[in-house]
């Protein structure tokens, strides 16, 4: 069982994908953990298993073997509904391509997640404005994603990830599609989440700019950890 400060812990994670009769190993016996208020970087070449690993940590994939503890809760053996509810409650997501809903405004993109978490309409509207203010985009609340720059979209995505104050933030290449200025702003925001809000921020990235703010860097290669923390 993980100690209270350990928010994410992976034990002996092994993952195979089936391809016809063959079983292809993706992750091999990985042990890993992250503590509260830290920024964890997961790096490695393409095909090293980073995406599979973060998907397992987020409860989106079930490993072939091993367990994942999030906030002390073992999630790999939870039912799909319970894992979904756990993600809704405790995890915020940030994606490389932002994954904003194009038909919704910046504020509505946040409101819908708050609604999903049970926040009522008026309260959700108010909280969405506050979150946009935190990422410096309150003046863009009524803009649709197509009217925002890449950096602005990612800041909206960060605000959305913060909706409902989750303890864990999982980000997949959050700065990959951004120019240096926007990348810097996003990095600062992620640092703020970890240091000021006490979130555990797990980032899958190739971007060396983020390395400066990371507390721990984990390298994956051929499904194995190279430098476990």
């Amino acid at each position: 069982m993980a100690s209270p400060s350990v928010t994410v812990q992976a034990e002996q994670i092994t993952m195979f994908f089936k391809s016809g009769q063959q079983e292809i190993p993706i992750l091999k016996n990985i042990n890993w953990k992250a503590t509260r208020g830290t920024i964890q970087l997961l790096m490695g070449p393409s095909g090293s298993g980073k995406t599979t690993f973060i998907s397992i940590l987020a409860g989106l994939l079930t490993p072939t073997q091993g367990q994942v503890y999030l906030l002390g809760q073992e999630i790999t053996h939870l039912s799909r509904q319970k894992r979904t509810a756990f993600r809704r409650e405790h995890i915020g997501f940030i994606f490389q391509n932002f994954n904003l809903f194009p038909a919704l405004t910046a504020a509505e993109n946040i409101e819908i997640i708050l609604n999903m978490k049970g926040v009522k309409k008026e309260q959700a509207r108010y909280q969405a404005q506050e979150l946009l203010q935190q990422v410096g985009l309150h003046l863009y609340a009524n803009q649709k994603p197509k009217d925002l720059s890449g950096g602005q979209k990612q800041r909206v995505a960060i605000a959305r990830a913060l909706a409902g104050s989750p303890c864990l933030i999982m980000a997949d290449e959050p700065t990959a599609a951004l120019d240096s200025q926007s990348g810097y702003q996003v990095t600062e925001l992620l640092k703020h989440l970890a240091k000021e809000k006490g979130c555990t921020v797990l980032i899958v990235t190739h971007d060396p700019r983020i390395q400066d703010v990371a507390d721990h860097i984990t390298y994956l290669e051929d499904g194995r950890l190279i430098l476990p923390n």
Binding site: T51, I54, S55, A58, L60, L61, Q81, T84, A85, F86, R87, R88, E89, I91, F93, F95, Q96, N97, N99, F101, P102, A103, L104, E108, E111, I112, I113, N115, M116, K117, K121, A124, D172, E173, A176, V204
Partner: protein, 419 residues
């Protein structure tokens, strides 16, 4: 809650309009088919609906309103004498030939009734008066049959069977989609036209000593050289006991048990069967809907409309969900429950149903008005059928969402981490 369904739907307006056009077409098709079906059903029984009679007495051979044998007037006289009967009138409903000024002979339906009685009154008299029908050899026609019968207006003199006829009035709504044009006239006149070119003979016999006399009316066409048996300058006579009517309309004394009165009429009168208004409507509608191909054809059209609508909506929803698959994946990853995802898709289907239904109903009402005013054909959209079509549209759209839901169910939320 933010309506992702509605926003997704309205995001691309041209695409939305094309999609809605498909639903509009399907709903309009269903509405028009059902409207024609209802209008057709109603038109077959309009004659019955226009009567105030409590009971219709007909020959016991009756199959439906237009398929029955006549009843002797002697039975009408017997019925009138019954204390439970407040009023009894004859109604003649029979075929005749109309001779337009030019062109081909037209088969018409004579409706002979008592113009001074309220037991049957024609619908909407536009010109002239029902009281004019008491004049000899006069008739009223429906305005939508004016061209068919080549009547220019009131006062026109034409020929029906072998007798002259003067048009003294115009009505509206006295047509049937399956019947020949209706020619409305007094019972006396109707009787004269029925007997024109025919001789009648009544044969009576006493089957057993002490039993009731049984009479049968026999009609024979006159030989051609004697075809006109009634002089047009002689006023039609009142109906005699030996004449026949098609129906006996009965108004019961107030407080009478109609079921008991029906039984009593069937006992007292010879070879008849009595029906309440609703029973005769039901028998006639059922006959046309089930024993002819018309009900099947119109019903099939409705089914085709529903199938087309379901296919169109399924395709639109499926394609919409496919376009927004990553968004659904994102929602699933972020913790959206299956119920929430279903609600989004079903809400989208509901909006499509509403946005498709409203213009389709407007279009259908327009088509119904146009057909009715230009052709006299009844395309009936009642509040009940409008509600039924709304329910069908909803079921069609929500049913169509099943395929889209299956597609979303298969979405792996882990796709969110694949760039």
């Amino acid at each position: 809650m933010v309506s992702l369904a509605r926003k997704n739907l309205l995001e691309d307006i041209p695409r939305f309009l094309v999609a809605q056009a498909g639903i509009l077409f399907a709903v309009t098709l269903v509405t028009i088919q059902l409207g024609i079906f209802s209008g057709f059903s109603k038109s077959t029984v309009k004659l019955i609906e226009n009567s105030n009679a409590d009971i219709w007495v007909a020959s016991d051979t009756l199959v439906q309103l237009e398929l029955t044998l006549p009843v002797p007037v002697s039975e009408l006289i017997k019925a009138r004498k019954m204390p439970e009967v407040a009023r009894g009138d004859g109604l003649i409903f029979s075929g005749a030939h109309w001779f337009p000024k030019e062109g081909e002979l037209v088969r018409v339906r004579i409706i002979g009734f008592n113009p001074q009685s309220s037991l049957y009154q024609p619908e909407t008299v536009l010109e002239g008066s029902v009281s004019n029908l008491t004049e000899p050899y006069t008739a009223m026609i429906d305005i939508f049959d004016q061209n068919t019968l080549q009547v220019e207006g009131i006062g026109d003199q034409l020929q029906m069977s072998s007798l002259p006829v003067e048009v003294v009035g115009m009505t509206e709504g006295n047509t049937s989609m399956i019947s020949n044009p209706f020619v409305l006239m007094s019972l006396k006149n109707a009787n004269a036209y029925l007997r024109a070119g025919q001789t009648s003979q009544i044969n009576c016999q006493l089957p057993e000593k002490g039993s009731q006399l049984e009479c049968i009316n026999m009609f024979h066409p006159e030989p051609d050289d004697q075809a006109t048996t009634i002089e047009p300058n002689i006023e039609p006579r009142n109906l005699a006991a030996s004449d026949v009517v098609t129906f006996i309309l009965i108004k019961a004394e107030s407080g009478q048990d109609l079921s008991a009165l029906k039984d009593k009429l069937e006992q007292k009168l010879n070879n008849v069967k009595a029906y309440t208004k609703e029973e005769l409507i039901n028998i006639t509608e059922t006959y046309w809907q089930q024993r002819t191909g018309i009900g099947l054809v119109l019903g099939l059209g409705t089914v085709v409309g529903i199938v087309v609508g379901t296919v169109v909506v399924s395709q639109i929803l499926y394609s919409s969900v496919s376009d927004h698959l990553k968004e659904f994946g994102t929602l699933k990853a972020m913790g959206a429950s299956a119920g929430m995802i279903y609600r989004i898709i079903i809400e989208q289907a509901v909006w499509m149903a509403i946005f498709g239904y409203l213009p389709a109903m407007l279009l259908s009402f327009g088509v119904a008005y146009w057909i009715n005013s230009s052709q006299g054909t009844l395309l009936l959209i009642t509040p009940t059928s409008a509600i039924a079509i709304f329910v069908i549209t909803m079921a069609m759209c929500i049913g169509s969402a099943i395929f889209a839901i299956q597609k979303v169910n298969r979405v792996d939320p882990a796709i969110v981490f694949k760039a």
